[in-house]
């Protein structure tokens, strides 16, 4: 079987798996639909059944479905951003949260919330979200530039520098965000806390539409780059000899990952490790073939985050566990595993 048709098989299988998890997730929760399944209720929402009570519709459509779609969009983008960053830095430890993009995004988003709180009531919802989103994008973009400048010279990345500049940016971001929390008003405070923990509970359809637009634009540019990222493993000069415009590729990855990480942070806060876990697992199966792991991480990121989110809102019902706890629980050991492997290859 040709490699490419194998890819289609894997994408199809994982998409079916994602659909099954979505159905399970829709049915998971404390709300009682009066004996009917949530799926049935969702069908009535679509068919416009007038016998449906407002609260049933609200729970299925505006709470659960919106949240599921958000988990799918955010998980996918976090995983793809991680995979593309790893291609750019040629290292499996490069992810938005570890190199400080997430902190940079949080910082600027927090500033926008606290300062923008004064004229919040005059702006329509979509504009508010967009402003926070744009600020988060700028934050992650600036962090990205800083990390790249510090850690990479002549096409070679110094991994220690990359991770340490991430630590530095996170420290700066943490202190300023802490200061903002200190001076902020009550309702802003709630918004800020939500960011630091990371949650999908605030999902709305407006946010999902913005995220979907970002996702489509980003993927049109970045998903066909699998071959180019493979060639980058040969070194930048050899990639150039293979007809790849390396400078353009790097610029595209920097801008697109900043855009994806920024939008994810703006709407769901800091959900760590997704960009580390998904490519790590895919690499175990497909080596580092980006032509495979880039498109597959788009689907598997959704699977991971949706599963984690469904667990986070169901294991301590009716309360909810911050989702970051679950992803960090998986991501931490994988981080260590990569470090151990890295140490072996260094010696």
């Amino acid at each position: 079987m040709k490699a490419q048709s194998k890819l289609y098989v894997y994408v199809t299988i994982s998409t079916i798996l994602l659909a099954i998890i979505a159905v399970w997730s829709l049915n998971t929760g404390v709300y009682d639909f009066g004996g009917r399944s949530a799926f049935e209720v969702l069908g009535k929402v679509f068919s416009g059944d007038s016998t449906l009570s407002m609260s049933d519709k609200y729970v299925v459509w505006d709470v659960r479905a919106a949240r599921i779609i958000m988990a799918i969009l955010i998980g996918s983008m976090l995983a793809v951003s991680g995979t593309s960053l790893q291609g750019l830095f040629k290292n499996p430890l490069a992810t938005g949260d570890l190199i400080g993009l997430t902190s940079g995004a949080t910082l600027l988003a927090a500033i926008t919330i606290v300062l923008g709180g004064h004229f919040k009531q005059y702006l329509p919802e979509a504009v508010q979200f967009s402003l926070v989103g744009i600020a988060a994008f700028i934050g992650s973009f600036l962090s990205m530039l800083l990390v790249y400048r510090i850690s990479t010279s002549g096409g070679k990345t110094n991994v220690v520098m990359m991770l340490l500049s991430g630590v530095a940016i996170t420290a700066i971001g943490f202190s300023i965000t802490g200061f903002l929390i200190y001076i902020s008003k009550d309702d802003q405070l709630r918004d800020l806390t939500f960011w630091n923990l990371g949650s999908l509970a605030a999902a709305t359809w407006t946010k999902n539409i913005i995220l979907a637009v970002v996702l489509v634009i980003s993927y049109l540019i970045i998903l066909p780059k699998g071959k180019a990222l493979n060639a980058m493993m040969l070194g930048e000069k050899d990639a150039q000899h293979l007809g790849i415009n390396v400078e353009k590729l790097k610029k595209q990855i920097i801008i697109i990952t900043a855009l994806m990480v920024g939008s994810c942070v703006a709407f769901s806060g800091t959900i760590g490790f997704v960009g580390l876990i998904v490519p790590y697992i895919l690499r175990l199966l497909f080596k580092s073939n980006y032509a495979f792991i880039l498109p597959l991480s788009a689907v598997c990121g959704s699977i991971l985050l949706l599963t984690a989110d469904t667990f986070s809102r169901s294991i301590v019902e009716p309360s909810e566990l911050p989702i970051g706890i679950l992803t960090a629980l998986m991501g931490g050991p994988i981080f260590i595993a990569i470090l151990v492997k890295f140490k072996k290859s260094m010696s």
Binding site: K2, A3, Q4, K90, P224, K227, A228, N230, A231, M233, L234, G235, K237, D238, Q240, H241, L242, G243, I244, N245, R283, K287, S288, N289, A291, S345
Partner: protein, 256 residues
């Protein structure tokens, strides 16, 4: 094919290349030889458009930096001296990279054919399912030779290949095999610029020799013209004798 006039390349006021002229005809095998630090690799980098020099380099009568990157990759390829040691892919995936200029998402039949053909020729076909990172130095070298040659398997006339010390780490058999592959390539009106260390192999295979010393051209011409005891011992600062090769009748250089 390629014309470069008075190339000068400096790094921090130190002349790495100083007024080097290079001219290459269709079907020519040019070997660049010289002692360490003579500027052989730098010259190759400048010619292959890896680093920009102030002087123009004409490739097929057009400034090489004006060529579209993708189009250029079908006309010329380069084999680098320092190949990456960490490519977590299978051998066939690495060789297939040579075909990247030719397909978008899915390799075509001809891409698989070109890949298999070059893997046979460079004797790495039996390794195709192996992980690249587990190969020995010489095997890796052959994988990259295979990749670079696969890149130039097309219908375009007059292609150009640059090879920077392609024989490193290769055993005797594979050294000859690699040179045969390059020689066959140039017989089809393609050209090759190869940095070599073994002067006897250069004498046997190259049409023209460019002997370099301290960033300058010490001698240029056919092997018979360049490989004289006087010129070689001067360039390498080491005594040598040149005699007639009993079988090929090329110059044979014996050092010491």
């Amino acid at each position: 094919m390629i014309k470069a006039h008075q190339i000068t390349y400096k790094h921090k006021e130190f002349h790495i290349l100083d007024s080097v002229d290079v001219q290459l005809e269709y079907g020519e095998f040019l070997a660049i030889v010289g002692p360490n630090g003579a500027g052989k690799s730098s010259l190759l980098s400048v010619l292959a458009n890896e680093v920009k020099s102030k002087q123009q380099i004409l490739f097929k009568d057009k400034n090489i930096s004006d060529w579209p990157v993708k189009e250029l990759s079908k006309h010329k390829a380069k084999f680098s001296q320092h190949n990456s040691n960490d490519i977590p892919l299978e051998v066939k995936d690495v060789v297939m990279m040579g075909r990247y200029p030719y397909f978008d998402a899915q390799p075509k039949q001809e891409d698989h054919e070109a890949m298999n053909k070059m893997m046979y020729e460079t004797d790495v076909f039996h390794l195709k399912g192996r992980e690249y990172n587990t190969l020995s130095g010489g095997e890796k070298q052959r994988v990259h030779l295979s990749r670079v040659m696969a890149q130039l398997q097309n219908e375009i006339a007059h292609k150009l290949i640059f090879l920077d010390e392609p024989l490193n780490n290769l055993d005797v058999k594979h050294q000859y095999k690699a040179l045969e592959i390059i020689k066959n390539f140039t017989k089809k009106a393609n050209s090759a610029v190869v940095v070599l260390h073994d002067l006897n192999l250069a004498a046997q295979y190259a049409d023209k020799i460019l002997l370099m010393k301290s960033g300058r051209v010490a001698a240029y011409g056919t092997p018979e013209e360049v490989f004289t005891a006087e010129k070689i011992s001067e360039a390498y600062n080491f005594p040598c004798t040149v005699c007639d090769h009993p079988i090929t009748h090329n110059p044979m250089i014996i050092f010491g």
